[in-house]
């Protein structure tokens, strides 16, 4: 790994040495250094009114210390005390480093441990380096495995907030990954989509943290509002768990759209809704049945039974190479049509949610008609 020196931060926000903080004196040469040359007059130039102000302040200062002869230059003492205490309470490996020639080993270990992760993540846990690390996999899935054909990317704005609403299928959220990758790959602004992930998937061991590092956020109205307020592109799958748990016989039949939370969100934040239809995900992991027995014990709602899983073990979780189509529809601006107050109108919210559901269902039918024959074409395209 590289040992990059820390680039200086001109804003002074990350002030490591406390140079710009008046409360932290530079104690490196303390107490030998003569501080007399730091006369404030040197900075005043030709501004007499400031000099008068300064003189008054100094008089007050002198008066203060004259009143209290026992007082010390306390800031410097505090800094010194802090540093002394720091010497007294060493953290274990630091202590070790002083005594044993382990510094090189320890440094290598830390560099190794930091491999593939960056030491700065965004507020919701997206790690730019981890994202780059998984990029090849998404690219492979997108162009070679699923051979995704994307249309309507021009409906996504270059800047500003928008809410992508998509249908959901498959036992693992490949569809959200493909929507994310499509926008990042082919949209002119290369925007990052933040998919909202259901609780059950988000708290899955291993998968959950990876989803979080590459941009997934736990589906929660507060999180979504915060993201949209930051003008991000948020993708929601209102079918949620029900969409993922669809059986093969129900494929491409949209489930109930939650409780219309996404409509409330769009109304409150004024974000336009962009309907998204994903076709192909159902065939990638056709669920023939689901076993609920024992599943709850290991923290998942059901164990899917697909043509490959669990027969082939973990390899059975790999998706079948179906041909995918992703279509982005023209934006629907609910906020402009109804205003934020409409979010409290439950009847209206439910009606709007159903309208959008119908719209996505139409888009899916359209895409399905593109395919030549029902099953075989799902794989050949």
């Amino acid at each position: 790994m590289t040992d990059d020196p820390d680039p200086p931060d001109p804003s002074g926000d990350d002030d490591w040495y406390g140079d710009s903080d008046p409360r932290v004196p530079d104690a490196s040469a303390w107490p030998d250094r003569d501080l007399d040359f730091l006369d404030d007059d040197a900075y005043l130039g030709d501004r007499p009114e400031l000099a008068a102000e300064l003189a008054a302040e100094r008089a007050a200062e002198r008066q203060y210390s004259a009143d209290r002869p026992e007082s010390n230059p306390a800031t410097e003492l505090r800094e010194l005390e802090r540093r002394l205490a720091q010497q007294r309470t060493p953290v274990f490996p630091i202590d070790l480093r002083r005594r044993l020639p382990l510094e090189g080993v320890w440094r290598r270990w830390r560099a190794l441990a930091m491999w593939g992760r960056s030491d700065v993540v965004d507020d919701f846990g997206r790690d730019p380096r981890a994202t780059a690390r998984w990029e090849w996999l998404f690219e492979f899935l997108y162009s070679h495995w699923f051979r995704v054909e994307t249309t309507g990317l021009e409906h996504i704005p270059d800047r500003g907030r928008a809410l992508l609403v998509a249908n959901h299928a498959g036992s693992l959220p490949y569809d959200s990954a493909m929507v994310m990758h499509a926008v990042r790959r082919d949209h002119p602004a290369r925007r990052d989509v933040r998919p909202l992930v259901e609780d059950t998937v988000f708290h899955l061991p291993f998968l959950g943290p990876v989803m979080n590092r590459i941009g997934g956020v736990r589906a929660d109205p507060e999180n979504a509002e915060r993201l949209l307020a930051k003008d991000e592109l948020v993708a929601v799958f209102p079918e949620g768990e029900k969409g993922m748990g669809k059986l093969w016989k129900d494929r491409y039949r949209l489930q109930r759209f939650g409780r219309g939370g996404f409509v409330k969100l769009a109304l409150r934040t004024g974000a336009p809704i962009i309907p998204v239809a994903v076709v192909g995900a159902e065939e990638a992991a056709p669920m023939l049945g689901k076993v609920t027995w024992f599943a709850r014990n290991i923290g998942i709602p059901w164990i899917p039974v697909t043509p490959t899983f669990p027969w082939l073990g973990l390899a059975g979780l790999l998706p079948l190479p179906s041909k995918w189509y992703v279509a982005f529809g023209p934006p629907i601006d609910l906020g402009k049509a109804h205003g934020p107050a409409a979010a409290e109108d439950r009847l209206l919210v439910n009606k709007l949610a159903d309208q959008i559901r119908t719209r996505i269902q139409e888009m899916i039918e359209e895409l399905l008609r593109k395919r030549r024959s029902p099953v075989l074409a799902a794989f050949l395209g």
């Binding site: 790994m1 026992e70 306390a74 930091m114 960056s118 919701f124």
Partner: protein, 334 residues
Amino acid sequence: MASSSPGRVVAVTGACTYLGGELLRRLEEDRKVARVLALDVRPPVLAAGGKTEFVKIDLTQPTIDSELATLLERHAIDTFVHGAFLSHPTHASEWAHELEDVGTMHVLNACAGVEPRRFVMISTTLVYGAHPKNPNFLTEDADLRGHRDSRFVNDKVRAERQVQRFAKEHPRVEVAVLRFAPILGPTVSNMYTRFLSRLIAPVMMGHDPLMQFVHEQDAAFALQRAVESRATGAFNIVGKGVLPYTTVLAMLGRVPLPMPQLIARQLTKVLWTTQLVGSPPSFLDFLLYLCVADGARARRELGFSPRLSIKRTILDFLGVAPEDGATDIAGAHA
């Protein structure tokens, strides 16, 4: 004798805690403060200056409230800072309950009669608890759900509820509650610094929640601001930015020990019972789920924004300068 001198008179319980000691030092330098009463069971290291007076107060004693009330009246206290809380879990849970929950009751009983102008309480963001349903950023309005099986957290929740009730019943008193994120730094000692000082750190296999810290100097500054300002209500005092738990361990050069939940809980239970580790098994939930708070309100109303990012906080805790090549920061500004 006291009322004749101008300036504020501040009483601080828990003067021997890190925040209490820092506050004493800062008040000593503050010209607007005339005198400071340091209340604790043992004398704190007093900064030179002579404003501060130590009074031995043991909040676990049953009739300490009347003693405290006379003290407050005699010294004409106008600001009371209540910081007598434990910074790490203890096996003496009965005593901890007496100190934190009942001790807060004594303090509030004393303050109810005297009605100081301002009451500041030191709390932690742990009172929100680590729950799978937590949003990424908990605001001050979130429920104080505490934590099942954790007396360490729940005593603080109960203390906070009492203070909230006190604020409702005594509208003349400005009540501010500061909920500090885990404080990290080279000199502070608390549950998190002890936990992260060990060479080997447990990791819940396959889980990696985001963590949040605040630098000790930032925390002390926030407390000073809270004493100075007139803002009321609860404030989350948090550092800049978040980092995944395993990244924190990697930056610190600790050896992560991934364990399945069941084994981790049993093992921690055994180690906690035999007093070999400093954190009870219930703390493992904080390695499973998010407990990150939003500091926007403190920035808006208290005028406090943290100076150091989480990365600098961790490096300062470790005692390495960034040039050390400890971490590579190429992706930092991406």
